[in-house]
Symmetry: C2
Subunit: 197 residues, 2 copies
């Protein structure tokens, strides 16, 4: 499982690295991490159903989305190096509020929530690390809210392409539309305007 640690450590290097975490606690946590390969289209969880893990994306691309009267609304995309999980389910909610599926064949590391909670309980520094992770996610979530409030669909599209060009290339446009909160037809028109005007 050393390679799992390397990937996780590398992926999380941008955050305050887990320096002070007790090596034994970390080893125990990592020993419970499993690899999992998922095919494009495969679901890791569905809203209303119980989940017991969160996922580290080693390669590939995933998203979480909400389903409202037949329409999918994409919350966020996750590519290599990111952690994806249902926060509600992770914090005692037991069932997921979101759906998570793979947009490409992906290679994941599966972190059992029970193992994570054990690690939190066993080591203060680990708990702190978890707090930082959520805080960073919270800032991203608030930024997304701000974007939805203050930008037009067209501006959101430009900003999305500018900030995540890699993801924008790999994701089909109808999913980009569902992330921007518009229809595929709407996005198509926006793109045409950009080429012509």
């Amino acid at each position: 499982m050393t390679d799992a640690f390397d990937d996780l450590a590398a992926g999380l290097a941008g955050l305050a690295a887990p320096r002070a975490i007790d090596p034994g606690v970390l080893a125990t946590l990592l020993s419970r991490v499993r690899r999992r390969d998922v095919a494009r289209g495969e679901h890791l969880c569905r809203q209303g159903e119980p989940v017991d893990s969160l996922f580290f994306v080693r390669t590939g691309l995933l998203r979480y989305y909400y389903l409202a009267d037949g329409v999918e609304h994409t919350g966020q995309f996750f590519d290599a190096g990111m952690l994806i999980g249902d926060v509600f389910a992770m914090t005692g909610g037991d069932v997921a509020l979101q759906n998570i599926d793979a947009l490409e064949a992906s290679e994941l590391l599966v972190v059992p929530m029970a193992a994570l909670h054990s690690a939190y309980a066993a080591d203060h520094a680990m708990e702190r690390f978890g707090r930082r992770l959520i805080e960073i996610g919270m800032i991203g979530s608030q930024r997304r809210t701000a974007a939805l409030l203050q930008l037009s669909p067209e501006q959101r599209y430009e900003r999305f392409v500018a900030s995540r060009p890699e993801v924008a290339r790999r994701v089909p446009l109808y999913l980009v539309a569902s992330y921007l909160g518009i229809t595929p037809e709407g996005l198509s028109r926006i793109r045409r305007r950009r080429v012509q005007g």
Copy 2:
């Protein structure tokens, strides 16, 4: 400062109460909490400026908002019993990304971030409590994102009134509009439709 503790404890009772937190650590934290009364319209922080505290709302009503080319977009309202603070500034970002102001004359408890971080460092259970707080905020933020993605302004208004009737009564409509992501005129039309039919 006992009354400060009571209020905080009562306000946070809905969360996993801070039972296991070391009494000494808690006492030290609470000893550094100060009361502050703010007038309607007063700002607690502005985007781009440093902040060093977060706030517990004892009475009154506040909000945070973003300013984009002269237009205010309200992120969330906070009334009695809630904690309000700029997460980015609270996590090493140093300056605020948000503006916070009082919509009514309010009575606050001011928690210095330095004191909070000391308490986090001093006690594992306190750190965990902080993690839970952020997690709960994160779930709320994701719910808000989902609402903006999948509901029309009209639906968002209905849902807002249904879920926070107290706040809806106390907040001027032009601020409700800025929370819903529409203009006061737009909200006015929505309300008229609802009355007529």
